[in-house]
């Protein structure tokens, strides 16, 4: 056994490993959902096609860009901490948080629009649609909703890390927490990378 971590109280690799394993469970959580999506789409090919027209590709694309950029900024903030540039790191995290917020605002208007047009599960209009289309909107709300929930959790995590950096708890030789927050945020991005084409682009 190459390394025992006992002699020091901190085990960065262990903590990173914990985070990765957590990410794997999240991947499988969404994996199950993607499986349902795949089977349903195979069954209701046409309906999905039609229903997806109701989604706004532009909004989706903007959100994709927002998430990709935020993913980059949080990755960069690790570089900044490693280079001992505390202020740059804080700024980058600030940008990440802002972008996350922008994503949520976008989502809010998107959902709001759908709900305004009565395109939510159980509404009178949706119930008149074909089964496949109802299911599409169900999946749309379920998947993006679960994703949005992860965004909120991610934002809380990043906010916490932000203050840890500010108070010098996270330093160039001790930034695992930041890295874990980053990993979590990238997971959110990773899932969106698949959600976007599957929900918005199959028209």
């Amino acid at each position: 056994m190459e390394h025992t971590a006992n002699h020091e109280h901190r085990d960065d690799k262990g903590s990173k490993m914990g985070m990765w394993i957590f990410i794997f469970t999240e991947l499988l959580l969404f994996g199950g959902l993607f499986l349902v999506y795949a089977v349903s789409r195979a069954k209701f090919f046409e309906d999905f096609h039609i229903a997806a027209h109701q989604l706004n590709v532009f909004v989706g694309a903007v959100n994709t860009i927002v998430l990709l950029v935020s993913s980059m900024t949080i990755a960069m903030s690790i570089t900044a901490i490693q280079k001992n540039q505390k202020r740059v790191a804080l700024m980058l995290l600030g940008i990440t948080l802002t972008l996350a917020f922008v994503f949520m605002v976008n989502k809010y208007f998107e959902w709001g629009g759908k709900i305004h047009h009565q395109l939510y599960p159980g509404s009178d209009i949706v119930l008149t649609l074909k089964h496949g289309q109802v299911l599409f909107f169900g999946l749309y709300f379920f998947m993006t909703g679960l994703h949005a929930f992860h965004i909120i959790v991610g934002m809380a995590l990043i906010g916490y890390v932000f203050f840890q950096i500010k108070n010098d708890k996270i330093k160039p030789d001790n930034f695992q927490l930041l890295e874990n927050a980053g990993l979590y945020w990238h997971l959110v991005d990773l899932i969106w990378i698949f959600l976007f084409p599957l929900l918005y682009l199959i028209t």
Partner: protein, 536 residues
Amino acid sequence: MTSNNSALHPGSYLDQQGKYKGILGWLTSTDHKRIGILYLMCILVFFLVGVTLGGVMKLELLRPGEQYIDAQTYNGFFTVHGIIMIFMVVIPGLAAVFGNFFLPIMIGAKDVAFPRLNLFSWYIYIVGAAIAVLSQFGGKGAPDTGWTFYAPYSIDSNTNVTTAVLAAFVLGFSSILTGLNFIVTIHRMRAKGMTWFKMPLFPWSLYATAWIQVLATPIVGITLLMVIAERTFRIGFFDPSLGGDPILYQHLFWIYSHPAVYIMILPAMGVITEIIPTFCQRKVFGYQAIVLSSLAIAGVGYLVWGHHMFTSGMSDFSRMAFSFLTFIVAIPSAIKVFNWIATMYKGSIKINTTFLYSISFIFQFMIGGLTGLTLGALATNVHVHDTYYVVAHFHYIVFGGMGFAFFAAIHYWFPKMFGRMYNEKLGKIGWAIVFSGFTLLYFPMFILGLQGMPRRYFDYLPEYSGGHFISSIGAFVLITGIIIMVYNLFRSAKKGELAPANPWDGRTLEWTIPSPPPLENFDNEVVVTEHPYDYK
């Protein structure tokens, strides 16, 4: 069980430690041993509740027709019995109790990798269990879907299915966090010199289990969330009246729940693999084969879920593929059985309560496993699917296997955990009654199943009454044995003889430290040079 023990030796984990005293000291402790004991207590309570429900069911089935409870109550009972037993007793069972207590010690660590997370998992478990208990009362009555929550009945049923499903979801979360913790612990905290292939086999089995917990549980998590969404918003994932696909639900459910049966049995196999070498004073036979078979079970076990759906209307190709894979997964189990028995060859065998439970584990696991083969073959499955044959199969494996391994483990490690010896004579009497009661209770179910008695039947045709009658008698023999066993353990924890550090002459690390173990397990850093099970 815990008072009186401070006299044993100073500094044991049972003594007051840290800020809080008494019960609060237990509820806030992040010590892996204390958390293990917390799980033990909860699981014992839930086990007795589940077992009581099973007993009432058997009482009802004593004779055909309505006896003591009505059909709705009966349906609620087997659902709750299943939920409690599966999600609250056998899945956390060995891993959370003995895994928590002994995994760090056996790999020479002071604690698990994330002690606070560990305590947090226990709290999640308690919350989940509380929700499960809640689902029994109020609202529209106890859930009545069976533990499998098959759609569309689970969507139509007006009972508290949502609450029960939520409970299973929360309990799954606790299981995931425990698994995560164990994987990191095993990767990062092994003592100096303990290479992967010098690690004892119980930690190995926990490692394989932990991966299943981490990678399979989320699937059932999302599925259960979808059931809740379906019940609340009528989306149409699984509800055929909305164009959904009930068979898709079954796929998702069993993608988790088949691997889950290996979550139950792998740690049990690990326990047996520890006990047999100790009581035979012999190096375990085929160490590497046992390690590899654990990993193989975890891997292949992931791909056989469809054998629960052979008559569901799945494609014929799938039926064939799943049947094939099911037979493949039987091989690693067979390898383990052969190696256990080979370990006994030319050993010096000490027969006591622990060993008797282990032997009955092997015997019952063989029966359960071999009948699994008839279930896995397509032609025979069509006949016995969803009959009492299946009920007998899984009680033999889950109770006769995992349950007996749990009993074996608690006897084996009892001196280490509580610092006292159990009463051997009472233990053996208890074993004999438990074993015969078990056989009487479950063996007739195989025959009932072959005769065509379907499961989840509140009432049955008169031709099945003979089997049910014998089986009901067995239930009461069994519970007598269980009561004797539990009584013996509780009494011995207070009044038993003081236990030496290594009463069974074991070789793994837990036997090198005092009984009960001190707070941080080891005084000095542990350095391992030898293989485990090195008997000279």
